[in-house]
Structures are given as structure tokens and as C-alpha cells.
Symmetry: none
Subunit: 402 residues, 2 copies
């Protein structure tokens, strides 16, 4: 909706509390033995009761058939067109370790890898190098390498993964990856993709040369590959767009980071749904909009563990009454994408979604699940169109046109 400039003036700041509950990877597929999805199988009395008083439907995160990463999945839920606004891999990875990217910073995701005597990649992950070793290597690279005119950050993520951030004036993201994405080939030379990017490409080549020399003698992790050079996306700030005070309440830094890129404030959320809801309670008067992110359902889905995903959904359901006891005006329950356990991956399948609040035209469906949400009035619709509906139910979206 961000692209709809015409509606900008319709948003008004009225006193109301909106909670966006994102159950990451919520949607699923049927278990081959039962014919029922994780959400259909899980015990969810609270979600079912809420759905019976809600308008229901299914959201398409990006486009039919497109399985989104966490970046586009969340941008869509925040009302940004995920095909217009994207977060590059480097920027997302930096954000995901709570690194505060500045507007001119250029970030890439890196892997330490194993090279043979000819410089050919024989293991892209260096046998999943321990995080502790990766941390030491990052410190060594950052302290040893000097790049002219810019500041350098080399930051560990997990296992063999790390982030490189270059801070300086005039850097361009129009540079190619050194990661060939396959083994059996040497790392690629980073090239400028247009003339203006030439100095940046030269700087990156200098970094790679010096880093390669420093790593050369090692048994594991004697090389490095980089990809996804990107800057922080230039997102119109969420609180200004929608005229509200917005807080992100997430356990995992990646999602806190995406929310922060969108201009939301973040509040200390602890490490569970319970502590997240406690945090919302403490800050209830300070914000109009709360984005609560649950990761457990997606993790179980990605692991291909149907039963664990079913249990994570039940946990999510159990947390609901504590949230509802805060008496929000509008509650949205959805996911940023589906993660069917039978696929063990993010998928494109539309995501069960409900909106509860004042003036809702309740669908009277039986329970909150994929097949029941199909019967809801909201139909199957783009995720980016979800938030304005929540704002309408909160009385924050005035009439359009005379």
C-alpha cells in the first residue's frame, strides 16, 4: 500500500491499540497420514474462538507461487510492496546481528570456505567452521586489514558465516559477488556492474586479497566468499506513513532488524512469548501499534518436524489470552509465509489470517485453519493490503474521495 500516495491523507491518528501477531511460517500442508495441516491438527481453542468473531482470509506474501524470505515476507505485512522495496542479503544479515547500518554503509554476507592448492572451493562452508573460530578470524581480519578512506567491520554471525560492512562516502552496491554458489570453482573476482561502482569494486578486491593472504595458511577456512553487497533499503518510515507509534517485540534479532529498518522502535522482549507479552503490557501506553513475532512455528517447519510445529502452534495459542487481556482494539493474526513441515522450507502457499476488532463482519467459521480461512470474507489477497484493514477497524483510515 505504500505505493498508494493517494491514500496518504486518509490516515489519521486516533487513540487505539493494534497488535500484529506474526506466527512465522504459520501456513502448512496436510500430513500424509491424516490429511490435515499442522494448524488443523494443533489444539487451538483460543485462536478458534477468536476466528469465530473475526474476518478471515488468506494472504499471499508476494505473488502466487513465490516463496518469500523473511525480508519480503515482513515488509509485505508492514504494508510495503515487497516487489518495490527489497532488503539485500548483506543488509539483512547485518541487521540480523543487530548491527545498526548507517545509510551509506555497504554490507555483504560472507562464508569462510576451504580451498585446494589451486584455489578451487572444495567446501563452501569450511566444514561448518565453529562460531568461536569464525569470531577469532573476523577479529583478525578487522584488525589487520586497512582500506583507504573507509571504515571496515568484519562481524561473525554463526558457524562459518560472517558479515562485512564498509563505511564511507560514495560506495556503490552495483558490484558482483565473489561467491560462485558452487564448489569446484575458484572464488570469483568482484567486478563493477557500472562505471560508478569501479572504486567500490577495487576496494572490495583489495579487501579480498588481504583477507586471502591472512587466511592462506589455515587447514579449514583458508578462503572466503562474499555475496549480496547491499545498503540499507530506503523505506519510508512506518510511523510517519501510518501516523502511529510502532513497537517491535521480537526475540530474534533478524526480525527486530527488519522492523527497525522500517522505522519502528524496538523494546526488550525477553526470550519467550510470555516475556514478549509482558513487554507489551509494560509499554502499553507508549505505543499505538505492536508487532509481535513468534519464531518457533517456523523453526519446527523448517526442520520438517510436523509434531514440533503442531506443538509450537499450540504454545502460540496458549499465549493468546494474556494478550487479549490487554484489551487491544484490533488484533491481526497471520504469518509472513507458510512453512509446511512436509516441505521443510518456506513456501508460497497463502497464509491463514484473521482480523478481530470493532465493526468486523465476522465469518462464523468453525476454527482457524487453512480450509476454514478459504471460506472467509477477506478471500485470498496480497499481504501488503492487510494492514490498512487493521487501521480501518481501529478507526484510523478516513473516507477516500468525495
Amino acid at each position: 500500500m505504500i505505493d498508494v500516495e493517494e491514500l496518504r491523507d486518509c490516515y489519521t491518528n486516533t487513540p487505539s491499540k493494534i497488535v500484529l501477531l506474526v506466527a512465522d511460517g504459520l501456513g502448512g500442508l496436510a500430513h500424509p497420514d491424516t490429511g490435515k495441516s499442522e494448524l488443523e491438527t494443533a489444539h487451538t481453542p483460543n485462536l478458534d474462538a477468536l476466528a469465530q468473531e473475526s474476518a478471515c482470509g488468506l494472504t499471499t506474501p508476494v505473488l502466487p507461487g513465490v516463496a518469500p524470505g523473511s525480508g519480503p515476507g515482513h515488509l509485505a505485512l508492514f504494508g510495503y510492496d515487497p516487489l518495490v522495496y527489497n532488503i539485500g542479503r548483506g543488509a539483512l544479515e547485518a541487521t540480523g546481528i543487530d548491527f545498526a547500518l548507517e545509510p551509506n554503509d555497504l554490507a555483504a554476507r560472507g562464508n569462510f570456505c576451504d580451498l585446494d592448492a589451486e584455489g578451487v572451493i572444495i567446501d563452501r562452508r569450511a566444514g561448518r567452521l565453529p562460531t568461536l573460530v569464525t569470531r577469532q578470524l573476523c577479529e583478525q581480519l578487522q584488525s589487520s586489514i586497512e582500506l583507504p578512506g573507509v571504515e571496515l567491520f568484519v562481524l561473525p554471525v554463526r558457524d562459518q558465516r560472517f558479515v562485512v560492512v564498509v563505511r564511507g562516502e560514495g560506495l556503490s552496491d552495483r558490484v558482483s559477488d565473489s561467491d560462485p554458489q558452487v564448489e569446484g570453482s575458484p572464488p570469483l573476482i568482484t567486478e563493477a556492474l557500472d562505471d560508478e561502482a569501479e572504486p567500490t569494486a577495487a576496494l572490495i578486491r583489495t579487501f579480498v586479497e588481504q583477507a586471502s593472504e591472512l587466511l592462506a595458511g589455515r587447514e579449514r577456512g583458508n578462503g572466503l566468499i562474499l555475496r549480496g553487497w547491499s545498503k540499507r533499503p530506503d523505506l519510508p518510515p512506518f510511523p510517519e506513513l501510518w501516523k502511529l507509534r510502532a513497537a517491535a517485540v521480537t526475540v530474534y534479532p533478524m526480525y527486530r532488524g527488519v522492523a527497525r529498518l522500517a522505522g519502528m522502535q524496538t523494546i526488550e522482549a525477553g526470550d519467550s512469548l510470555q516475556t514478549q507479552i509482558d513487554a507489551i503490557r509494560q509499554h502499553w501506553d507508549d505505543f499505538d501499534f505492536f508487532f509481535l513475532h513468534d519464531k518457533q512455528i517456523d523453526t519446527a517447519g523448517e526442520d520438517g518436524d510436523f509434531l514440533a510445529k503442531q506443538r509450537a502452534i499450540a504454545d502460540f495459542d496458549r499465549a493468546l489470552p494474556a494478550l487479549l487481556s490487554l484489551r487491544p482494539d484490533v488484533v491481526v493474526v497471520t504469518g509472513d509465509h507458510s512453512t509446511p513441515a512436509v516441505m521443510a522450507a518456506h513456501s508460497w502457499h497463502p497464509v491463514p489470517t484473521l482480523i478481530w476488532g470493532r465493526n468486523v463482519r465476522a465469518d462464523h467459521i468453525h476454527d482457524f485453519s487453512e480450509p476454514e480461512c478459504v471460506r472467509g470474507e477477506l478471500g485470498t489477497f496480497p499481504a501488503k493490503e492487510l494492514l490498512p484493514l487493521a487501521f480501518a477497524h481501529a478507526g484510523r483510515l478516513a473516507k477516500y474521495g468525495a
Copy 2:
């Protein structure tokens, strides 16, 4: 769908009669005592029978969550993207009193208001000045004020409301309102919003100064405020786009005006559904497409009168057989937006919609209502996509592509 240039060549002129029945404000919300909407509660045997032979669904007028004014609501039903084409308040108001706006005319909506000794607005509506007084004031302003190089029209609407139209070359709509929209503040000075609009802004300030002098001595209505300076929208003409002869059959001038802006012809419609249908019968051979507008349902909804809305829907239902006896090829029943009595306002909720005609895939739903239409094949879809469906059933939309 007007934005779909690619389909333009698919439209063909075949002999067929299409009737678009717009029950303004048709959609509703449940009465708190019964859990049923106005449409579910009303006695509608004819609509129900028609729905059982129709393809059904719900239309989203603009976007989810967006409650439209009458302008965008109708443009969408006429197949125009309401976010691309909009009708400014001044143009809509002029149109609503049957003033034939010319392409270069610039129109604003005005209120006579009460000012205190310091020029501060103390009543934005001058105690709802009688229409008769407003008419006299308008005549006085129009005959007394001379603006260099342009023609001036000052026209009464109702109560304290009036319309100002300036006719001349090179006028710009990029000028600010003088209406501050609140009391306790003086009227604002009209400013140019870009350089080109400077002469227009100066002209408007001259008008306001002279009008203010003329009104100054009065007890009520000693000031004026203006807003929504706009020109008639540059709509591609409906009959050319769809290759048919189109007639608007409306009781209220506002809707006749919107249809006229879209290039439809208007026919004398009397003051009731009965006289409207009589008018259609008389002109049956002269047109391929008839737009019939019913206002009563919306009026009751805006009044927050559930029972009156229910009765207005039943009246609408009773008129249906006379229309069907004309043997149209395609009938569409929908609304330009919902107006739930419990909200007493236009709302964003999707609007129950049916298409009846040849080659329809009937949904076999039980009755024409919000929850039944949810189960229809058309699903919940943008209102601007409705009319091409009607044309398809009329055999007017040929195959696209080889």
C-alpha cells in the same frame, strides 16, 4: 480495468442489453441483537431467486480497509481505477447540481459561515443557513464580483453550501483551501501549491476579498470558506471504451453527474425506482447499457436506521420483477460501497454482488446476502473488475490473444 489497454480490442459491439443496478450503500453489518445484517434481515424473495441463478461474490470498492466516497465508489463500478481517476470535491459538487463543467472550469465547494469581530470562524455552517438565503447570497456575489479575464459562477447547493466555478484559460487546481475545517480559527489565505498556480491563487484571493466585503455586515453568514478546487477529471469516455450506448437513470443529480463525467447520457428518471424502470422501458431500444442508481438504502444506512435500511432493501427487491420483465441479457446487482447502519457511515466492507446472464456459472447459494456471497465463485475482488465480467456474459468481450 480501464488501465488494461491490452484488452481494448477485445470489446465488441453486439446487440445486448446490460443493466447495472447500484444499490448505494448495500453492504452492512450484523445487528447486535440478531447477528444478521440489513440484507440478511430484509424480505428479498426476488433478489434471492436471482442470486440462485447468478455468479456471486463481494466487491472491494478501492482497496481493503478503504471506505470510498460516492465518486471513487462509482468510478470503480464503471471500470475506472479509482486510485488513478479521482473527482475533486469541487468538481463533484458542481456536477451534483447538474452544472455542466467544461474541461477548463475550476470549481470549489463553499460554505457560508459566521465570523466574530476578529474574523475567527464561530460557526462553519452559519447555523445551517436556509437554502433560500444561500441562493440570494449567491446571486448577489455572482452579479457584484468582477474577476479579470474569467467568467464566474456562484451557485447554491443546499443549506449554507454553494459552488464557485471559475471559467477561463490557464487556471490551475494546485491551490490551497481557505476552509480550515475547524472553528476557532480564521479562514485561511489561498496559496499556490506550485509556481504555475500563482495567477489562479491571486484570482481566488481577489474573489474572497470582494465576497468578504459584500458579506461583512450580515448577522448570519458574514463570511465564506472554500475547499476542493478541482477540474472535471479527464476520464476516457465510457461509451468509447466499451463500445456501447450507455444511459444513467438516477434520481439524485450527484450520481447523474458522475455518470455524465464518464460520458454516459442521462435520461429523465422521475423520483422513484418505479419511474426509473419506466424510463428504462421507454428508452430500451436507445441504449445497450443502463446504470440505475438507488439512493434510499444508503440514506437509511447513513442515518444509522437499521429498520429503514432493511425496508429500503425490501423496496428495491419489489422493483426487481418489473425490470426483469424487460428481458435484459445481463443484470448486475451491487453497491458502490457498504453503509452499515451500526456505523451510520460509508465503510470499507466488501459489497454483495451478483451477475446474472447467459453462460453464468451459478453458485446455487441460498439467498443474496453477505455470508452467502462469500461462498460465491467470484470471491472478494476489486470492483473495477466487475464490468468486464458483465460484458463477457453479454457476449461483448472477445477472446484475448491468439
